[in-house]
């Protein structure tokens, strides 16, 4: 490739002239922190890292890289769980300095933001208007909205309010070749290229500005914690609730291993540590009729075998219950040094059967599966804590994960509900999609990025793209 000849120092100097020398990192020791995101165990060394401080600087950086055909990877807060922000010898473009909330239109219920704005910061800013940004990934205190859009992030409250896709109205995007485009939903005609862009994992370009939908805060919220003596009973309660047509704002399941990790942490929420599983159920909406919904939830839980259904007495108690759930992934660090995190989705009628199978797959391989997930969506997060330095244990963990994923695909499910494919789930793509479908995905990517320089080696295995077969892999490219 042409880029190989360009010394890092002279590129750094040119990028430094755009963003300020302080905001370009080239030394190996300063790039260490940018070698990984929140997917444990993966490290890739970026060629250099650059941090634009304005939309214009971001565009200028992308154009400079386009001039030499250099591959790049966009990164927000590095909280992704699929390795999507790993840059293998590519230029890493961090957008965390682009954190202006440009406007909040309370009347239209929209916000216009830069991609580095932290999810929770937007909700905090919108609170003054009685509004909030609905998608609430567990990492919302840290993750950026640009990253949320790239991954089509979900979160507990997406059960009722929808995922990121349903909350993005417009995006200004700099394409990998430096062209600026405005993408919308096609409400006034035109292809829904915004829909294609959301969830494209940084492969289609970088959003420079986003217009997002804000949601009115509900008049009332009731949060309940139902306590079960078996995971199957909790799963059964979930399936019955969905089948009964109740749409809670959120419906989350945590099993005993997860409950214990949380209860040992600073986010201890008062979950019963002897329960085999708990369901965290929230109903919200107009005050009128909310009590009836909450009662229906309680009855279904009890009928499915819940020992107790408690209600959060006030906002503080509610917040505590939620903090425990949202920090559960981090709390797993207490169990073992490393962690495999999965994100499969299965039909909701099959939850109990799937969880049962997952448990027996875990037993067969002698690994401990901890479940904490968005039960209402059927979005499983089987996590396996382990020690990566133990080769035998690592092999067993990865074998178990593979079987779990295969089982979920066979049940008519998918491999990722909100974390993205990234690097981590590439091996499952060919099992999930036909060759034609993967080839069509490649076609879509190439309309945005013909040279495939944006986040190379992610999402779709390179060899799935017929037109790319036979071409030499890019530097930083994938497995082929």
């Amino acid at each position: 490739m042409a880029d190989a000849a360009l010394p890092v120092e002279s590129l750094a100097a040119e990028l430094g002239a755009i963003v300020g020398a302080r905001h370009v990192l080239t030394r190996p020791s300063t790039l260490l922190a940018y070698e990984s995101d929140a997917l444990p165990g993966y490290h890739k060394r970026p060629r250099l890292a650059v941090f634009p401080g304005s939309q214009d600087e971001l565009v200028a950086v992308v154009r400079r890289l386009a001039k030499d055909g250099l591959p790049f990877v966009a990164r927000g807060a590095g909280t992704g769980l699929s390795g999507g922000a790993l840059a293998d010898d590519a230029v890493l473009i961090g957008v965390q300095r682009l954190r202006r909330i440009i406007a909040i239109d309370a009347e239209a219920r929209t916000a216009t933001v830069e991609p580095g704005v932290v999810n929770a910061t937007l909700t905090r800013a919108a609170a003054a208007f009685g509004l909030h940004y609905a998608p609430d990934p567990s990492s919302q205190a840290a993750c950026t909205l640009g990253g949320n859009v790239a991954e089509n992030a979900g979160g507990p409250h997406c059960l009722k309010y929808g995922v990121t896709l349903n909350h993005v109205l417009r995006a200004h995007v700099v394409l990998p070749d430096g062209e600026l485009v405005t993408l919308d939903r096609g409400d006034q005609g035109g292809y829904d290229l915004l829909g294609a862009f959301v969830g494209s994992e940084g492969c289609f370009g970088i959003a420079t500005e986003l217009t997002l939908k804000l949601t009115p805060n509900p008049e009332a919220v009731l949060t309940m914690l139902a306590d079960f003596t078996s995971v199957a009973a909790a799963a059964e309660a979930t399936s019955r609730m969905i089948a009964a047509g109740i749409v809670p704002a959120a419906l989350e399941l945590m099993d005993q291993a997860t409950i214990r990790a949380v209860e040992e942490s600073i986010y201890a929420a008062g979950y019963p540590i002897d329960a085999a599983a708990v369901l965290l159920v929230e109903v919200d909406g107009p005050r009128a009729g909310l009590e009836a919904d909450a009662n229906a939830v309680s009855e279904i839980c009890r009928a499915a075998g819940a020992r107790e259904v408690k209600r959060a007495s006030d906002a503080a108690a509610r917040e505590k219950l939620w903090q425990g759930r949202k920090k559960a992934f981090g709390a797993m660090g207490r169990v073992a040094p490393h962690l495999v995190v999965q994100d499969a989705v299965v039909p909701r009628t099959q939850l109990a059967a799937l969880l049962n199978d997952i448990a027996s797959i875990g037993e067969r391989h002698g690994v401990r599966v901890c479940n904490v997930f968005h039960a209402g969506d059927g979005n499983l997060h089987p996590n396996i804590p382990y020690d990566a330095n133990d080769a035998d244990e690592s092999a067993r963990v990865h074998a178990a994960m593979q079987q779990i994923m295969t089982r979920c695909i066979d049940a008519g499910g998918t491999i990722t509900g909100e974390h993205g494919v990234g690097l981590d789930k590439l091996p499952y793509m060919e099992r999930l999609f036909t060759a034609d479908t993967l080839d069509a995905m490649c076609t879509l990517r190439e309309t945005f990025d013909p040279a495939r320089r944006a986040n190379p080696g992610k999402v779709v295995p390179l060899h799935s793209c017929r037109e790319w077969n036979g071409l030499p892999a890019l530097r930083g490219g994938a497995s082929s």
Binding site: H23, L25, R27, P28, S29, T30, L32, A33, Y34, E35, S36, D37, A38, L39, P40, F51, A77, G78, T79, G94, Q96, R97, V118, A120, S139, A141, A142, C143, V262, E264, S265, I266, Y267, K327, A328, F329, G330, A331, M332, G333, R334, P337, H338, L339
Partner: protein
Amino acid sequence: MNTEEMRSGLDACVHCGFCLPACPTYLALDDENDSPRGRLVLMRALLDGQVAPDDPDVAKHLDQCLGCRGCETACPSGVPYGRLLEGTRERQRAQAPLPFVARLVLAVFAREWLLRPALAVARIARGLGLARLATRVAPHALRMPAAMLATTARKAVAEYSPRGDGSRGRTALLTGCVMEGLLPALNRASERVLAENDFQIVEAKGQVCCGALHAHAGDTGTARDLARRNIAAFEASGAEFVAMNSAGCGAMCREYGQLLAQDPAWAARAAAFSAKVRDVSELLAVAGPKPTTPDATHPTLVAWDAPCHLQHAQRVVDPPLQLLRAIGDVRLVPLVDSAQCCGSAGIYGLVQPEVASRVLAPKLARIHESGARVVATANPGCLMQIGSGLLLEGSTVQARHPVELLDAAYARARQTD
């Protein structure tokens, strides 16, 4: 910390990134190398020999850590960040000495015979108005320290005789180096409000600097020496409680047990000492504290800034608020990001003045947004950092210790009796 402990502490990090928004230097500098997650990566690299021990970038980013430990109360997996940082700094010190300014300051603080005269000179300069003058005319780099000094000036307060009955137990105050040197009025106020609330005040003669500054800088040897002298002094006083009005000292004294855990002669004594440590607000919260009558006509709007070493290190959250609520003419107003570091952090302001002021900027902005006339905080470093920031801005908002406010309220109540 031995290598094994370091490694297991580092292993607890799952790289989730929840610490990023809790880190004042990450928010001020926008570089993950200046975040807890990034610094943990650097600590591990140092430990594994992946980077050279004298790598200037690694040193820079670790030195830029305030040690506020705001990340610890954000971390779901319980990474002992503060201890890992001290462990790393201790190892770094073995490789490369601290900058000259830092070494000088630490040396003075470890020696009473140097510290007392130094602080006396500072008091004289302050008394002559030189400090306040220097905030306007001194070279830029000196204005902040001058303002810090100027902000410790206090008008004489009306004294009163506490009426408590001493029934709550023998209590000795850690008078501290900076506190006794520059803010002695605050120590007297602490003693009076404790006495008013039925604590029996005894003196712990021979006490010295708590050693926090030394421990944070990686000079654990000196910190241990100072700890032993303090433990002996307080044992001799017969106190049941060791009262703290400085959050930084309180956090350090609570950790004497860990600091001397490997010293067979002192481990048990240190643990017993640490168990007696209480923030003044905690003692007062247990006592009530005695409220003063509200002055409905002239309420003072007060915002509470939670010092890192109280909130994150000692996990003392509610007692200071209880104390402030007991003051009749105080109306508490919420301070956004109250628990976020102001950038003070011991001698940080002297070694990293630029970062310190970048970290301070959002704190000052939040204080102004709150509409408060007084910002209450419970650590000398924070009082001086925030106070100097306000002074340099020309703001009339004052930084005060909650105990000072309570003491003044008791004094006023006594006058109207």
